[in-house]
Symmetry: C2
Subunit: 344 residues, 2 copies
């Protein structure tokens, strides 16, 4: 039986807003233990405000289903994949869990229209979006009752998307892996919390309960983790990729592609080194794009020398390969221990 | 009368360490209200674990004295200034407050030897250091009873300096203003807290009580703020500089000097734009250095177009010019409200 009283509040200003939120967070009782209720868990119908990042080629049905089954929100990344692949992954995930699983759309995908058709047909309940402004698709998605949560790395884009009707935003700091912006989690989250009415989910640099609790203190009502979940047992990425994340220390990542306007955070390896040298030598963006094509897929298959091993700075905080359930359990218990008065 | 019981603890592992710290933090009673006790306040003999950043040309006696008088630790930045200037500032600060005031040493200063003599003669109680490894000076400083707290932006340098005998470290995330590293506060602080025995002070991206509380959750036992104090009434920087900080939003800063190996975070202006263009055109480091010389001083005097207006990403969170005492009071009260069970 689930007992819960939700206290909704009208945020007023900056830190009092966070405080009101923390004070307003509510205890629930469910069979698996206490849930952590925020507007994000309410919105998504999940137990814990923990979302798994939509990592292209990495976030497949197995990982997404495991995260949802453990009480978070699992996400299948559509990436550049065709519609049929996305449909097969959605169905596979549904065989593994009855809980909601979302899909991350890469808005620059060549198969986007096809994938959009699939997510509507399959009645995917939640979409997260990256690489662009999903504004023009919102009317159709809202009509279909889909919850839409874009990844944003600036306040102005977040405000535009709130006006367009998104349900929440994922504010992603530049410490994150893969495609990034410029602002860090520490400064982006409080600004988003101040400027938006919709809930803010924090991403970038979060790999344990300390990061989760800190993000909540900064004004987030949920967190998204990529790199930590990449090292989950259920993640299908090649063992060599996981090993490289586990070995990472501080300063193990570099940002490639700054000169092309599409910066990407990756672990240092011969590919990254070569890419940076080409950039320093003034190689034109189109040649760099060509040089980088297919490199993430190569890394996912295990070529961690010539592949693009995307990971966040939080790789330095990831120390072991564990089942998803264990990861979520430790995030929740650490976060609760650090915020004992929050009601978590 | 001050009542305090200090619980020292032997840290064991990651988040439990932070938890033990938070649980072990102690209430004190002093005439100005409750202090916040951590190993940092104990080490420095201050009321609140709040340190003012050693901003060259900006952190003069007036600002430093006001911060110390309000219960934090004020810092006079020696920068590239000659010994006589530093001595005069130390003496001016001592006319303004009887509380301890520290000095920040720029280890690449052409006047370093002279300044080192002055800080010893004037019996400065605390030194923070930037731009290099202060290891070789440590024996003399320790002999003189000076507390030494270097600014670090990597785990390995912090560990080396701990072995050399520093009393604490300031871990500075790359969202900070001025000279920066690569790692963000969100990931650097928990790593330092895990790897060091000495207390960690967090810097970079902290401008309000949310940032302060989040830093404590991440494992810091104190915070250092630069940009917020730059907008203090007592700060002697030109009004135009402060105005530019107040107007800053997210994405208002850029990083100049990445190509020279000495990245510096500044607010966007014609100087920064020109510098970035020169870098993109492959201008050699020595020419860039020449182009940048004297630009911070120009900005401090009010030339915010052709000067280098150094500021952190947290500029977006700074909204008004206030007296130092008010800034510290709001940091402390917000931090306490967000961490009610911490004993703050």
């Amino acid at each position: 039986m689930i007992l819960s009283i939700i206290l909704f509040y009208k945020p007023t200003s900056s830190s009092w807003r966070t405080l009101t939120f923390l004070a307003g967070v509510v205890l629930g009782l469910s069979k698996g233990g206490r849930t952590i209720k925020t507007r994000v868990t309410e919105l998504l119908g999940i137990e814990y405000p923990i979302i798994q990042g939509g990592m292209a080629w990495i976030a497949t049905a197995e990982l997404a289903a495991a995260v949802s089954e453990a009480g978070g929100l699992g996400i299948i990344a559509a990436g550049n994949a065709p519609g049929d692949w996305v449909r097969a992954e959605i169905r596979k995930a549904r065989e593994l869990t009855t809980k909601p699983v979302g899909v991350n759309l890469m808005l620059l995908s060549p198969h986007l229209e096809e994938v959009l058709k699939v997510v509507l047909e399959e009645k995917v309940p939640v979409l997260t979006t990256g690489a662009g402004n999903p504004g023009k698709y919102l009317p159709v998605w809202k009509e279909a009752g889909i919850k839409v949560i874009p990844v944003v790395n600036s306040v102005s884009l977040a405000q535009r998307l709130e006006r367009a009707g998104v349900d929440a935003v994922i504010g992603e700091g530049m410490e994150a892996g893969g495609h990034i912006g410029t602002e860090t989690t520490m400064v982006l989250i409080p600004q988003l919390a101040d400027k938006l009415e919709v809930p803010v989910i924090a991403a970038g640099g979060i790999a344990d309960g300390r990061g989760m609790a800190a993000a909540m203190i900064l004004g987030a009502e949920g967190v998204q983790l990529g790199t930590r979940f990449l090292c989950a047992e259920e993640c299908q990425v090649a063992p060599a990729y996981k090993e490289m994340v586990l070995k990472a220390k501080d300063r193990s990542t570099v940002v490639t592609g700054s000169s092309t306007g599409h910066p990407v955070r990756v672990l240092k390896n011969p590919f990254a080194q070569q890419f940076l040298e080409l950039e320093a030598a003034g190689t034109p963006p189109e040649e760099l794009d060509k040089f980088g094509t297919g490199r993430l897929a190569a890394a996912v298959r295990g070529d961690v020398k010539e592949g693009s091993v995307m990971a966040g700075q939080s790789a330095a905080l990831v120390e072991r390969i564990e089942p998803v359930a264990k990861i979520i359990e430790s995030l929740v218990s650490e976060c609760r221990a650090l915020l004992p008065s929050s009601g978590f």
